[in-house]
Each structure stands twice: as structure tokens, then as C-alpha cells.
Amino acid sequence: MHWRDESPGLLPSAIRHLHLYFLLLRAQARSQGVYRVSFALDAVAAALITASEFAAFALVLPRFGTLSGWTLGEVALLYGLAELAFVLMDLAFGGFDAPNLSAHVRSGSFSTFLLRPAPLALQVFGSDFALRRLTRVVLAAGIVAYGVTHVEVAWSLGDVALLSGAVAGMIAFFGGLFVVGGALTFWTVDSVEAMNVLTYGGRTLISYPMDIYGEWLRKTFTYLIPAAFLSYFPVLHVLGRPLPDGLPGFAAFLAPLVGPALLAAAFAFWRLGVRRYQGTGT
């Protein structure tokens, strides 16, 4: 092999990495398909957890009419988008989730990632591809579909683009939070519980219209942790409602910027953590 083959151009290297990534995914998908019954049950159960949570809300809502002026269809749109983005993020970024990564760090098996001749982040990306989560993707898409068909919106191409951008932004945003949580395991072996508040708590928080929360909570998750820009503002815009705090209309379009910005910062933090990693001596 020539030296030149080791340093290919940018595009061929990207293709090679993508190929490698899909090889990792396929290997895991194969191993998960071995026990068919187990896989089917796990897949259904994964969806049932989401389903029961939303079902509980949907069953109760008729007693009350609306949730501070939001109909079931409107909440379904908000809830479904957050769930869809979170599950897709979980599929891609699962390897960075603190419990997964800290297990690798604790056992020392993280060292093998460093020894392999493949980019570290790529290996972590490909290390926890739980195929069973696909049922949750389908279910989340179903909730979104219910929402789309039960709101009074004359859907335009712009609306679809706006909400797609919101989902992409949310995937990057929550992915970034997973990466930060994973990187923290290089400093502390215990996974940091406060991160769960931001990741799982943040997901639940943006699943409902944010005007139901206290002023401080809403403002914290708007200006300090910019989660409101990801789904609440885009959905408000699509429904033709004004943004809170007199924010200008373009704030509804910032999700595709806010998410990737956080993700970039998260990977900078990740590199700091990896440099600190010393292994367990095994």
C-alpha cells in the first residue's frame, strides 16, 4: 500500500468513513436480529412506552377541553416532533449517552476504540445502534401525522421546510447534549444526573406548549438553554401565533442554527475530554 492511499482527498475520505459507519451499523443490526422473538417484544415495548405516555395525556384531555388553549392536534404536533427528533437522535448518538460511554470508560474497553485505525467519534457513533427504536420512530411519525391533520393550517412548502429544519435542529441539539454528557464521563465515572434533566427533561419540557410553565422555567429554556427555538417557536409560527416576549418572527427560523451551534461546541468539549482520558491500565 502506498503512503498516498493513507491520506486521500476530503470527499473520498468522507465516503470511506460513511461506508465504515454503515458497516458498524449493519454488524449490530445483524446481531440484534438473531433472537427474533426477543427483538420483536423489545421493539413493541419500546414503542409502548412512548405510546402509553401520550395516550395518558390524550385520554385525559377531553375532560378538560384544551391545554391552556391548545387542542389535542396542536399538542400532538409539538409532542410528536420532539419525540421524532429525540428518537432519531437516540439512534444516531446512542453511543455517546453517558451510561453507554461510562461503561466503556469504566471497563477500559474505550481504549480499544483509540487503538483502532478509524476515527474515534465514528466508532462511538456506530457503537450503540438499537434497531428496536425504529418502532418508536414510526409511532412518533404517527403522532406528528395526527397533529398535521388535526390543526387548522393550510400547509405550505415553507411550513414543511420550517418543521423539517426544526427536527434537524433538535437532533443536533440533543445529540450535542448527549456528547457533553458522554464527555463528562472522562472526568467522573458516575454519569451526571444533572445531564438527564437537560436531555430527557428537556425533551419532555419542549413536548408541551411552553407557556404552561412558570416564567423562570420558560425563560431559562429560551435564553439560557435555547430549547424553545427548536420546536416551540417553529410550531407557534406554523399555527400563526405570536412568539412570546415580543420576539421577532425570524426567531422561529433559528432551529437549524441553534442546534448545530450547540453540537459544534459539544464536540470541542468532547475533544478536551478525550485528551484527558488515560484508560484504566488494562
Binding site: Y35, V37, S38, F39, A40, L41, D42, V44, A45, A46, L48, I49, A51, S52, E53, A55, A56, F57, L59, V60, L61, P62, R63, F64, L67, S68, E193, A194, N196, V197, Y200, G201, T204, L205, Y208, P209, I212, Y213, G214, L217
Partner: protein, 236 residues
């Protein structure tokens, strides 16, 4: 802390649902807040997010060690879980309720109702334990019992009144649930705690809880015996 944060979000959703209504299905807004504090407080004690301890012991074959003890396997596990649950309730549950009382004014039962409520808490744990144990016994027959467990916990969370008070569900769904043991695992305790069931009605509620507990324990003992026999046949 995570628990409190999720509690705060759940309170916000319920408060927003109530809006300006003083009462819905026998629940005032204050009741709804107390309900949320209670369910958050019981998560750890009642293992509402799932429990796989006995399953693990079966899969690893360590259940053989359990059989060597001069005590009944089911009674041994029940005693162990009772201790764990009591510890969790005192160390995590009560502080959580205290915080809810402090932050949102969650209420506590008083007078004779308090005694009945304590009984109901105990029965809710027992009923829930028997169900959890039964689900774990699936491991005798299936190497995929974790999936069965996940399935069972998801159904339990919806049907025992953990996600929403059962009284707020549509009538048809409530009548279906009335024929299942799930309300006895949490919802009945909440109703007694809130004073929604008093006097003879409270005793009837406790009786139902007791009946389901006895039935589920009997079933668990039967399934366990069959499972253990099967294990011996397999030479485990």
C-alpha cells in the same frame, strides 16, 4: 433532582389542564398537585420503572442458591423487597413529598384516614411486588424476559394511575381497568390519601386491594413452583 424536575413539569401540565376550573372528576387542582407528588415519591419504592432482580437470578442460575435457604423463595424475596421499598420510601419518597408540600402545598391525610392510607400503601406495595415477581418468573420459560418486562412495566404505568389519575380517564377505560389489579398498585392509595374514598368506601377499597394481593401472590407461588420444577428437569 431529576425526579423533582419531572415532577415540576407534570405539575405544570396538570395545572394548565385545570386552567380556571375548580374541580374535575373529583380532583381539585390541589389534589392534582398532591397526586403528582405522591406518584413521584413512590417511583423508587414501588419500582414503577421496572424491576429485573429475580429475572437476573434465574438467568444466571443463582436461583439454585435461593433454594438452599431454609425459607420459602417467594417469602424471602418479598421480605427483601419490603425492606428495600421501605428504605426507598423513607430516604427518597418522604423528602420528595416534603419538597412538594413546601413548593406547591401538597397535602397529607389526617385523622383515622391516615391509618387507612398507611394500610393502603402497604397493600399497594404488596400487590405491585406480586405482579413484578410474576413478570420476572417469565425468565423460567424465556431467555427474552427483559422484553416481556419492559412491556409489562409500560402497561402498568398507564393502568395503575402513574401517568395520569385514573379518574380523569374516559368512563369506558375506567370500567375496563376496574377488572384489573393495576389500580390496586397505586391509584387506590392515591384516592385514600386524597380523602376521595372515606368510611365504608375506604374499607371496600382496601378489601379490593387485599383480594388482588392475595390472588397475585397465590398465582406467583404457583408459577414459581412450576418454574422451579421445570428448572430441575432441565438439570439447572
Amino acid at each position: 433532582m431529576t425526579n423533582l424536575f419531572f415532577g415540576a413539569l407534570r405539575v405544570a401540565v396538570l395545572v394548565a389542564l385545570f386552567g380556571s376550573r375548580p374541580q374535575v372528576a373529583g380532583f381539585t387542582m390541589q389534589d392534582a398537585i398532591t397526586y403528582t407528588g405522591l406518584t413521584q415519591a413512590f417511583i423508587a419504592a414501588f419500582s414503577l420503572f421496572g424491576w429485573y432482580d429475580f429475572m437476573r437470578v434465574i438467568h444466571r442460575g443463582e436461583v439454585g442458591g435461593d433454594l438452599l435457604r431454609p425459607v420459602n423463595v417467594l417469602a424471602f424475596w418479598a421480605a427483601q423487597d419490603a425492606g428495600r421499598a421501605a428504605g426507598q420510601f423513607v430516604l427518597r419518597g418522604l423528602p420528595m413529598l416534603g419538597l412538594f408540600a413546601l413548593l406547591w402545598g401538597a397535602g397529607f391525610p389526617g385523622g383515622p384516614q391516615a391509618g387507612l392510607t398507611v394500610l393502603s400503601v402497604g397493600l399497594a406495595w404488596a400487590c405491585g411486588f406480586a405482579f413484578r415477581f410474576l413478570v420476572n418468573c417469565a425468565a423460567f420459560w424465556s431467555p427474552d424476559a427483559v422484553g416481556i418486562g419492559r412491556f409489562a412495566w409500560a402497561a402498568m404505568n398507564l393502568c395503575c394511575g402513574f401517568l395520569m389519575p385514573l379518574a380523569l380517564f374516559p368512563g369506558w377505560f375506567q370500567s375496563v381497568l376496574a377488572w384489573t389489579p393495576f389500580p390496586a398498585m397505586l391509584n387506590t392509595t392515591v384516592e385514600l390519601w386524597l380523602g376521595q374514598r372515606i368510611g365504608p368506601d375506604a374499607w371496600a377499597a382496601l378489601g379490593t386491594q387485599l383480594a388482588w394481593t392475595v390472588a397475585l401472590f397465590a398465582l406467583a407461588a404457583m408459577v414459581l413452583a412450576r418454574g422451579l420444577r421445570r428448572l430441575e428437569l432441565a438439570g439447572g
